[in-house]
C-alpha cells in the first residue's frame, strides 16, 4: 500500500508477556519514528531511525522497550515483560526527510496495546 502500515491494530497481553509491534513505512522513507500515545494525550516520542541506524532512543521509557529496523525498512517495537502502564496506542511515522529538516510525518493507524 501507499501508506504506513502497522500491525497488529489491537493487542491484548497479560502482564508479564512480551509483545512485538510491526511498522511498514512508506517505501523509500529514510526516517522512521515510534510514538506512544496515552488516552486523551498527544503522542510522546520514543525512538528515531535514519535508515537502519537508531539515532535516538531517548524516549524509550525503560530497558524493557527495544526497537529495531535491521534493513532500513520495516521496524519492530518490542516490549518485554509488559506492565499495565504500557497500555497505550503505539504510533509509527515515517518521512522522506531527515531529522533536522523534517517536513510532514506520515502516520500509521497505530497499534492499541492493552495489558491486563
Amino acid at each position: 500500500g501507499a501508506g504506513v502500515s502497522q500491525s497488529p491494530r489491537y493487542k491484548v497481553a497479560k502482564r508479564g508477556q512480551d509483545v512485538a509491534l510491526r511498522c511498514d513505512p512508506i517505501s523509500g522513507h529514510v526516517s522512521l519514528f515510534w510514538y506512544q500515545q496515552a488516552l486523551g494525550q498527544g503522542p510522546e516520542f520514543l525512538t528515531y531511525f535514519q535508515n537502519e541506524a537508531q539515532l535516538d532512543k531517548s524516549g524509550l521509557p525503560s530497558d524493557r522497550f527495544f526497537a529495531e529496523r535491521p534493513e532500513g525498512s520495516v521496524s519492530t517495537l518490542k516490549i518485554q515483560r509488559t506492565q499495565q502502564e504500557d497500555s497505550a496506542v503505539y504510533l509509527c511515522a515515517s518521512s522522506s526527510r531527515l531529522a533536522g529538516g523534517l517536513g510532514e510525518l506520515f502516520f500509521g493507524e497505530g497499534s492499541r496495546l492493552t495489558v491486563l
Binding site: 498527544g42 516520542f45 523534517l102 497505530g110
Partner: protein
C-alpha cells in the same frame, strides 16, 4: 515531555461557525505543524508553517505563527460535522544535539454540532 500546549482542551461549536485553536511552545523552533486525529485513527498532517513565516492558508485552514510569543493559532472556517476530531500542534526543534523529531502538544478536541 510535551513541548506544546493547545488551548482550549475541548471546543464545541455549531456547524458553519469558525473554530480557533491555540498552541504555545517553549523553545525555538524550525517549523510548527498542525495535525488532525479522528477517534481511533492515526494522525494526518494539515499544514506546516516555517519559523520565518507569519501566516499560511490551506483551503478552510488558516495558521498564524508568532515566534516572539512562541504561539500559533489554527482557524477552521465554515466548520463541518466532519471536522470533529482532535487537533495537535507539533514543533520541530532539532538543533543538532538530538533527533527527537516532532514534539506534540496534548491536543484540542473539537466537536462540531450539526
Amino acid at each position: 515531555s510535551q513541548q506544546g500546549e493547545e488551548d482550549p482542551q475541548a471546543l464545541s461549536i455549531q456547524e458553519g461557525e469558525n473554530a480557533t485553536m491555540n498552541c504555545s511552545y517553549k523553545t525555538s523552533i524550525n517549523n510548527l505543524q498542525w495535525y488532525r486525529q479522528n477517534s481511533g485513527r492515526g494522525l494526518v498532517h494539515l499544514i506546516l508553517i516555517r519559523s520565518n513565516e507569519r501566516e499560511k492558508h490551506s483551503g478552510r485552514l488558516r495558521v498564524t505563527l508568532d515566534t516572539s510569543k512562541k504561539s500559533s493559532s489554527l482557524l477552521i472556517t465554515a466548520s463541518r460535522a466532519a471536522d470533529t476530531a482532535s487537533y495537535f500542534c507539533a514543533t520541530d526543534m532539532y538543533s543538532g544535539g538530538g533527533a527527537d523529531g516532532l514534539t506534540f502538544g496534548k491536543g484540542t478536541h473539537l466537536i462540531i454540532q450539526p
